[in-house]
Structures are given as structure tokens and as C-alpha cells.
Symmetry: C2
Subunit: 141 residues, 2 copies
Amino acid sequence: MEASTGYLLVKLGGAAGGYFDQSLDSLGLRPRHVRVLDRIQSDALSQQDLCRLTGMDRTTMVAVLDDLERLGYARREPSTTDRRKHVVMPTDAGRSALKEAAVLLRKAEVAFLSPLSATERKQLNVLVARLAEAGLPVCET
Amino acid sequence: MEASTGYLLVKLGGAAGGYFDQSLDSLGLRPRHVRVLDRIQSDALSQQDLCRLTGMDRTTMVAVLDDLERLGYARREPSTTDRRKHVVMPTDAGRSALKEAAVLLRKAEVAFLSPLSATERKQLNVLVARLAEAGLPVCET
DNA sequence: CTCCAATCGTCAGCAACGCTGATGATCAGC
DNA sequence: GCTGATCATCAGCGTTGCTGACGATTGGAG
């Protein structure tokens, strides 16, 4: 029970989360900010689009974008095609912050997985990818 | 970035957590209650002992034990050796509830890991156990 | 064209969570 | 017998993710 895969997964997920959180402290960001910053690089997305793509709540997204705007990493611009929408654009500072964050996150991940050999890390990646891709089966008890 | 092992681990951990939560709905318990219920089976532990063993906060433990007592699954008894302490004892109902919970959790885990083959599940278990055992390295960025 | 339901972004406020600090009771060492 | 530490408890704080409501705007039906 203590050593069940499921329990360990929960524990590990939490630890990894805290780990990633900390790794971004110097940027004043949290992983969710980076995820949003990443999404808005390529396409011009509305806040709703971002919600759908990241799975975040609409009100949480407002807070995240407030943060990114305050830090000068992104801007909200009125959409030219739909005046209800705001198109979210990254700034130059946002783009370089994203690069920096990616480096930090990568470093944190390497450290976190350091107890495993290269082969094992590859194995783990395959397994969790399969599990995540499997759509996280619906609970029906 | 989207498919990094670390990010997937966080996602998976959260999903597994919610999964386990749901699986215990019918018992009115949450995984933490089951963990406590499990710990008090063998030894006579004080609340502080339980905190140390489970890593839970002392005030959270109070709430958990309140729940378990209200459900008739555990009792607080004054320690005979130290009148500051409460020894936490499982009731018969608590013991059978634990058995039932273990079954439900096991079922949930099987379902959650069902996208993997038996060999892969074994592999995953070894890997996450190694990572968890490695003491979750300290972040120092 | 005129409504009307639906969508967008925002805000106030709620419920759960984990924690800090303080309290009263008790213990252990000097 | 005093003093500092430990135990269980409670009140209260800050954070988090969410619901519900709101005004503004859109798009389609009649």
C-alpha cells in the first residue's frame, strides 16, 4: 500500500511540481505562466482558446495574464475580428523569458531524474507518455 | 516541453490523486484517512507519531482523526504512560473499512495503469520506487 | 431589421486546503 | 519546585480553484 505504484505516482507528481515551482522562482513565474507563454508564441489566441488548450479555468487565466502583463511578458490586444475577444501576444521580453524558463525547467527536470540512468529515464518517459496519452481513464466506481 | 517527463509526471500524479479520491467516495474517506487508518493497525501511536510517519501537519491530523472518530472508524484514548498523549486505536468498523478501502484503491490503481502491459507496470513501479526512494533531491537553483 | 440565445472577459465571493501562532495541560531535567 | 519542552487543540490567515453574475458583443432565426 505504501509502495503501490499509484501512491508513488501521486507523491512523485507533487514533488516534481514543487520542484518546477522553485526552479522558476528567480523569474517570478510559475509553471502555468510558462505554459501560457509557450502557447502564445506561434498563434494569435484568445483567452478562451488558451483555456481550452491548457485546461485552465477562465478566471485563473485572467489572473495568469494579469501577471504576465504586469511583468511585461505579454499584452492583451483587442481582436480585430471579434470585439469580445482579446488576442494575447508575447512581448520581446516575454519571448526571452520563455527561453530562460525553458532552460531552468529543463535543468530542474534533469536534477529530478538524476537518480535514474539514461536508459531508465528513457523508459520512464515512454511509460508516462503512454499513460498520459491513454487519456487518463475515467473513474467509474 | 509539453511531453517532458517532468511535466507528464506532474499531470499524471494529479490525475492519479483525483482518481484515488473518487474511488473512496462511497466510504466517505479520502486517501489520507486510509493512510492513517493503515498506520494505526499494528502499533499504538500518538497523533504526533502519526504526523511524523505520514508527513502530515499536526492540525490536519486533528481534522483527519475527527473524521475517523465521527465515522466510527477510530478512537482517541488517553495514553496510560503520558497524559498529554492520545493513543489512536482502530475500531472493528475501522478495520473492515480499511480492508474495503484497500480493495477500492487497488481497483482504482489497476484501472489507472490498465493502458500498460504487466511488464510495463512492473517497470514503472521499479522506476518510480527508485525515484521516490532517492529522497526527492533538493532543489538548489 | 429585430430579437434572443450564446460567447467573451471580468469580478466578487465561496469552500477547501495547509499552515502559523497561541493556549492549556503535562512531562522531564536540574 | 522551576523551567523549558512536548502534546493536542483551536482560531485565524493566505492561497487556490471554482461558481455565479455581469456588461459587452456576436451570430442566427424569424
